[in-house]
Every structure is written in C-alpha cells, then in structure tokens.
Amino acid sequence: MVDALKQEGAKVYIRSNKMGDYLYNELHFKDYFVDNKNFLPSHDESLLSLWRVKEDEIDLHPELIQQYLKRTFFSNKDLSAVKLSLLESYYNIFDHAEARNNAWSMMMYNEECHRLYVAVGDLGIGIPTSVKRVIPSLSDEEALLKAMEPTFTSMSRKHNRGLGLGYIKDACTEGDSLTIVSNHAKLVTTQDRTTTAPMPFLFRGTLIYYELTLTHFENEEIIDNFEI
C-alpha cells in the first residue's frame, strides 16, 4: 500500500508508536521506500525479511529461503515444497496480476511449533478479475474456487496451464492452511476442506497467506532411476 501511494506521488508518514516503530525499525520501511532497497537481512533469525518481488530475481529468492532454512534448522529435510510454493506464487504475480512491480513477500519461522508463515501480496488486478476475463459470469468467490482447479488457467502466458495454486496447497500438510484474499472474496483451504466467504470491501490485489509445518516434511531421499 505504501509503495502504491508513493507511486502516485503521495507522501506517507509513519507514526511513532509500537506498530510504527516496528514497521520503521524492524521491517526497515525507510530503507525500502526511501532508499529503494528490495531486500534487507533481518537481525531476527526467525524473521525472514520483507522482499520486494522482482521479475529478474524471481528464481533467486525462493532458492535463498530454502538454503537458509536447510542451513539453519533442517539440514536433512526435503524442503523443495517451500521453494516450489514460493516460485508458483511469484510467477503467478508476473503472469497474471498486472501489479506494476508492487509485490512483496514476508516470512516468519516459529521455531517452537516448527511452522513457516508465508505472505505474498500484490496490488494488481486480483485473481477474480483475471479469472472473469475467461468466465465473466462467475462471482468473486466462484472465481477463487475456479482458480484452484488443476486444469483451469487464464493462459496469460504460454507456460500457464493451471496447477500453480494447487502446488501451493499441496505444500500444506496436516494442520496447515492456505488463505487467499482477493477483490470481494476470501478462500481458506486445508487438507480436508475449502471454504469461501465474501469480503465486505473491495481489495484491488491479492494476498496469499499460508503456513507450512516443516517437521511434517520427509527427509531427503534420492532415487537412482525412475521411468515413466
């Protein structure tokens, strides 16, 4: 939101209180929005920093996150689902969102419950708007459900064939959830069920938020040969 306002030429002030100080000091808002940084390392090992999602770094950030988690917490686990879910989220932004480079991600890792919390947000057109270019008759809630179907794609680019959001959901294990808020709708999906609800306001953009319990992931195992 700050980035969008800045792009429109507005001046943004952050009040000095508990939240304001956290945004300014812990999340380094000044460095991002005054000095135009894309990423700054955090002093807190559990906070994996705010990252401005840029198309030329789209493959780099997921790789760095995976390496960091393996190095710091889980050297034996196959964490490829973490990297995969981030890749799919980021490519979705540049394939469909029309976000004018205003896309961000943030992650936190809770060492006590071994859970990674991921938020990826953009101020683009929103998933329902993109889906309704293909099927205009859908409501926003129906459009979010449609976007989750494995074979549905708005085919914005040649390499789209659906499946992307499904890979993010597949990374979630027991007790995890994926939440999508976009335009006038919200979708929450777990391993057992998927529900939607209307949003009381219009959100011009998309927020994808999910939790991954990393101790549920398998240990890494290499197979010498696998044939189709």
């Binding site: 493959d59 995969l84 890749l87 064939r161």
Partner: protein, 92 residues
C-alpha cells in the same frame, strides 16, 4: 539414448526458457527413436512453468502414451517422483 543434465540446462535461464529448450531436445531425440534420460542431480524443484513448457508441451503435441518407456529420470528425489506422477496424472 540421450542423457540431459537438467542442472546445466537451468544454469543462467529462467524455468520457462529452460523448459522450452528441454522440449526441443526431447522432441529431437524421441523423433529419432532414442530414449531420453533426465539427470536430476542437484535439481531440487520441478515447478509447473518448467514442466508445462517441456514435458507438458510434449504430451500436448504427442499424447502421454508416447512417453511410456521412452522417458526416465536418474538421481531424482522421492518428492520429485511424487510430483512428476501427480503432474502426469492430470493429463487424460
């Protein structure tokens, strides 16, 4: 037989570009009747934008059965095997 090093293929390329090149290499070899073996050593992710432009595109052009017995992976992680199987299952 044609062996393709996927890690080398991905070097310096984004996933859709690498997938396009793999599609080309696969198509050439399979057309000649050669089996294609993908060396996955050092590769930890097979995102959809790579699969869609390579294996997915090949299946779209030639059908899934055309790959039976003609495509194999070596040094692949167990999780990637699960994903490849799931990916293929989404094609009729």
């Amino acid at each position: 037989m044609c062996k393709i090093d996927i890690k080398a293929l991905l070097e310096g390329r984004n996933y859709p570009e690498a997938g396009d090149i793999l599609f080309g290499l696969m198509s050439d070899s399979l057309k000649k009747g050669e089996k294609v073996i993908l060396n996955m050593e050092g590769v930890d992710s097979l995102p959809t934008m790579f699969l869609n432009t390579s294996i997915g595109q090949y299946i779209k052009d030639h059908g899934k059965d055309s790959l039976q017995g003609n495509l194999a992976f070596e040094k692949i992680t167990a999780q990637q095997v699960v994903r490849v199987k799931e990916y293929l299952s989404r094609f009729a």
